[in-house]
């Protein structure tokens, strides 16, 4: 009963698409987010289950074994990864999706071509165009994500990696892909050209992300995420499968919007993130301009403890250093101790603190910090003037007053937390190294600022200890 099967598949796909949309909608509120993810997962289960009914499938062995292996690997890593390593995990899974889209596109081309040896007549130009685009976007997303993963995992340097003629090389790669792609799409070139496109696109993806600094990786991952969605949608055109088109485009569109939201938070255009090679040359220039009689004032855990314990209001500003040191639980314990002494403790969350928007919220939520203590930038900026002590834990660029005051600074115009308006500032930092933007931070040299050097978790533990003894 092929008709019945086809109808069952079609109905399942429609229901699955609705489940995806409802799932995404539920993801927009903290209270329903978890169920939203499960609704989307249910949609996925339904869509994949229905696909197994497809008449085209002759053998289930490779599907069953492949799914088991992939599911095992994915689940294992997803379960065991540290909360702090979430961003690179998303990058890695995104790369897998990109690779899948590229492989599906190539394989489908081979299958269509095999149907009619020597002629390209069986592949319509629409299909061939989708195949080329799906291959290119999927492959770029794959190697791009792997490089992003490498940078965040610190397997590769987080600094922008540049070499001479880099842009020229990228342009040539893109040109080559364009020419070959047009040839495949019009039917004047065949399988060999598509394989070459695949290889060139792999190289392009890696070269594209290498010159982008680690601080911009959230935006990059978001772009690659929406690209993978687009690649998935294109395979839908190739396979004449509307489910793939709908789900792929949903991701492509929402990923694009998310990318824009993120670059807005940094007050930079997406093009600037991609081509700016942020922080590459600015080290020298800006540092030179501001080295003069700059001094820093160091403090000790004991002095920090006294300052905190006798404050009325404390605002904690977490940054990437908190994530690296896995200090979210320690900071929460410190806050609890302070609250017991009657100190009001709040957290100020910059939208791009850490490596992803919401990164800090996820970490602090893991440590059971209540929602109402987390203040967003707009809420908290008015309060700094009435704050006795601001404790900056491993944040740098998001509290750099140069973004507000110094028009020649590369981050000028980025919205920041106005930490420098507080009465006292204590900065926990590993060393005097620069932030991801690679620029000098005047806050650290401010009269009101005291620096407490060392690993954030270790420092916080010492401060906690000292508070108990105050």
């Amino acid at each position: 009963m092929p008709d019945l099967r086809a109808s069952a598949i079609a109905v399942s796909y429609i229901v699955a698409a609705i489940l995806f949309i409802f799932g995404l909608k539920r993801l927009s509120s903290p209270a329903t987010a978890r169920s939203g993810n499960r609704v989307a997962a249910a949609g996925m289960t339904l869509a994949l289950g229905a696909t197994l009914l497809d008449q085209q499938i002759l053998s289930f062995w490779s599907i069953a074994v492949g799914t088991l292996i992939g599911a095992g690997i994915g689940t294992y890593f997803a379960r065991t990864v540290q909360m702090t390593a979430m961003p690179q995990m998303v990058a890695l899974f995104n790369g897998m999706g990109g690779a899948t889209a590229a492989l599906v596109s190539v394989a489908e081309y081979l299958r269509l071509r095999a149907g009619d040896a020597g002629s390209t007549a069986v592949v319509t130009s629409g299909e061939a165009t989708s195949i080329v685009l799906g291959t290119v976007i999927g492959a770029v997303s794959f190697t791009g994500s792997i490089v992003a993963f490498g940078k965040l995992q610190e397997l590769l340097s987080g600094k922008p990696l540049q070499f001479p003629m880099q842009r020229l090389l990228n342009a040539l790669l893109l040109l080559g892909i364009g020419v070959l792609g047009a040839a495949v799409a019009t039917g004047s070139a065949g399988t060999a050209a598509l394989w070459l496109i695949f290889v060139l696109a792999l190289a392009l993806g890696a070269l594209f992300v290498l010159p982008i600094g680690g601080g911009d990786m959230p935006v990059v991952i978001s772009i690659l995420n929406s690209l993978t969605g687009l690649a998935a949608a294109l395979t839908g055109f190739v396979l004449h499968n509307q489910m793939l088109v709908v789900a792929g485009v949903l991701v492509g569109a929402s990923g694009t919007l998310l990318t824009l939201l993120m670059s807005n938070a940094m007050n930079r255009s997406v093009a600037n993130v991609l081509f700016g090679a942020f922080g590459a040359g600015s080290d020298g220039a800006v540092a030179q301009a501001s080295t003069g009689t700059l001094s820093i004032r160091q403090t000790t855990a004991e002095d920090t403890a006294i300052a905190l314990a006798y404050a009325r209001t404390v605002v904690i500003v977490p940054g990437y250093g908190l994530a690296v040191a896995e200090a979210q639980h320690t900071v929460r314990e410190l806050a609890t101790d302070l609250e017991k002494r009657g100190v009001s403790v709040k957290y100020a969350i910059h939208p791009v603190a850490g490596r992803m928007p919401g990164h800090m919220n996820v970490l602090l939520a893991e440590a059971n910090v209540p929602y109402d203590q987390l203040l967003e930038m707009e809420q908290v900026n008015g309060e700094f003037a009435q704050t006795d002590v601001v404790l900056v834990v491993g944040a740098n660029d998001v509290v750099n007053p140069a973004a507000r005051d110094n028009p020649s600074s590369p981050i000028y115009g980025m919205p920041i937390l106005d930490v420098d308006r507080a009465r006292n500032i204590i900065v926990l930092k590993r060393s005097m190294g620069h932030g991801f933007a690679g620029i000098e931070n005047a806050l650290f040299h401010h009269d009101k600022t005291r620096m407490l050097f060392g690993d954030a978790r270790k420092s916080l533990t010492e401060v906690s200890q000292a508070i108990k003894e105050v």
Binding site: L27, R34, A78, V362, L374
Partner: protein
């Protein structure tokens, strides 16, 4: 253009609007989980991999299909599990308060 292609383009454009609209009201707190969830959803491409692997009739196609299924399944399962772990932490904290 074939009718099917036109229909596909319709679906593409309408889904694009839905994608924008559905996401437009997400608070920044949920951006990371949202990115992770959409990341899992584009794992739907494993569906294409299944069709390719299931219909493969040459060793090369078998190999390509198989690798694609493994990668795609890792994307789907890993993506949803990671998102669930993130969101688990967003559960309400009210129950921590002692009963009055």
């Amino acid at each position: 253009m074939s009718n099917e292609l036109v229909l596909g383009i319709y679906v593409f454009i309408l889904a694009m609007f839905v994608g924008f609209e559905v996401i437009a009201r997400v608070p920044s707190v949920l951006h990371t989980p949202l990115m992770s969830a959409t990341n899992a959803i584009h794992g739907i491409v494993v569906l294409g991999a299944m069709l390719v692997a299931g219909a493969a009739d040459t060793p090369l196609l078998h190999a390509l299909g198989f690798i694609a299924v493994v990668f795609g399944a890792a994307n789907v399962f890993g993506g949803f599990v990671v998102t669930d772990r993130m969101l688990e932490m967003f559960r309400k904290k009210e129950q921590e308060k002692p009963d009055a």
